[in-house]
Amino acid sequence: MTISRPLTIDEAVRALAAAPGAHLLQGGTDVMVEVNFAKRRPVDVVSLRRIAELRRWHVDDSTGEIVVGAGVRWSDAEREPLRSASPALAQAARTVGSPQIRASGTIGGNLGTCSPAGDGLPVLSALDASVVLRSAVGERTVSIHDFMVGPKRSVRRDDEIIVAVRWLPTSGFEGYAKIGVRNAMVIAVASVCLVHDPRSGSVRVALGAVGPTIIRARAAEEWLRGACDLRNISTVTAAMTAEFGERVRSEARAIDDHRSTRNYRHHGVGVLAARLLDRARKAT
């Protein structure tokens, strides 16, 4: 086995080009579980932990986008100043594992693993984020909606590393809610992120752990847009939040598995979506 420990993104993509199929290591919170249980025995590993440029975030002055490096950890996302810049990401971060996991696990690693239950993914979906990928031959930017293609499957090529995620924040409410079997140390049974964009008069709602990929409940979004004037979120009524929850529920495509049942998950995303919309309409 080999391990390469680059200090820059350029070194990392060269190391990856030199060792095709190498396993990328960020915080290790997913990879090492597979290694410890002998489900994976990597031949080559490229560790991204020491790449300082991946660990930073900033606001792009020219576009206003928030750009978060793939090595930004959950413990960074849950604290200031990133917390205020992205409240939904901070709320999702707070539900990830334990303090120990959050001090290791990264947003890029969440995308790399690409589990439908990954806590960061519904947030990035509701934010209409883009994923920046780089290889030795160049850089490309992929919409989060095209990035994930199945459970633990993405369009990332073997020669690419995830460099950053970027999105244009709205001036409206954003929130994340999750159901698990207890409050700490839990993988999502169902999760929802809701983002309100007052400028375009829309609400975006993304569902986690209720399908093979993150699901955007676009029919429910459209219905709500037609039911009231979302440039002013306080025009949403209590009755609308309930119907919105029902409509979101009908767009889930969950399965029964060891963590929960299809029916409970569908019920769960409906309740969470209605709850988040209620928070949004009362937040103003």
């Binding site: 086995m1 080999t2 391990i3 420990r5 290591l25 915080g27 290790g28 919170t29 990879v31 090492m32 579980v33 290694v35 410890n36 249980f37 025995r41 990597p42 031949v43 590993v45 560790s47 932990r49 020491r50 413990s75 594992g97 334990s98 303090p99 120990q100 996991i101 001090a103 290791s104 409050n183 700490a184 140390m185």
Partner: protein, 167 residues
């Protein structure tokens, strides 16, 4: 597949330690216990869920089972053995004993490290902050009440007296 034994160096408890004949994919937990003779760090779930293997790495409390040891060669690592230089009990360990926060003892080293980390970064944590800080450490014996009491005792001691820093 190449599985040649490799050589690397870790900085543990202030000492540079050679790791020889390890497979590079081994976890820090395994290397600490089986290669470096530091069995204070406990292994139970090996998937980051129990907190028994909590160590301090570059100022963060992390699960040693989720760290690839060969990726930690430039890190500063403190294990439960390194919290005090002279085999004396630390203030946190004394509080665990005084409060009855130790029963079978298996989770204790991980909890002690997590509590040291908490009190080092936040000397006067609230009740919720205490609960949050040890939410990743599972104890099947105590029901946690006496562990919370131990943390409160250590907190009060640090607030009233300047206790010797473990590091």
């Amino acid at each position: 597949m190449t599985d040649s034994p490799e050589f690397f160096r870790l900085t543990v408890n202030g000492e540079s330690r050679n790791v020889t004949d390890a497979w590079l994919g081994e976890s820090l937990l395994y290397v600490l216990r089986e290669r470096l003779g530091l069995p204070g760090t406990k292994g139970a779930c090996e998937q980051g869920e129990c907190g028994s293997c909590t160590v301090i790495m570059d100022g963060d409390a992390v699960c040693a089972c989720l760290v690839m040891a060969a990726d930690a060669v430039d890190a500063t690592i403190t294990t439960v053995e390194g919290l005090t230089p002279d085999a004396m009990l630390t203030d946190v360990q004394s509080s665990f004993l005084a409060a009855g926060g130790v029963q079978c003892g298996f989770c204790t080293p991980g909890l002690v490290v997590a509590v040291h980390h908490l009190l080092d970064v936040n000397p006067n944590p609230s009740e919720n902050e205490i609960r949050e800080a040890i939410s990743g450490n599972i104890c099947r014996c105590t029901g946690y009440g006496r562990i919370f009491e131990a943390v409160r005792m250590a907190r009060e001691q640090r607030v009233t007296v300047r206790v010797r820093s473990p590091r």
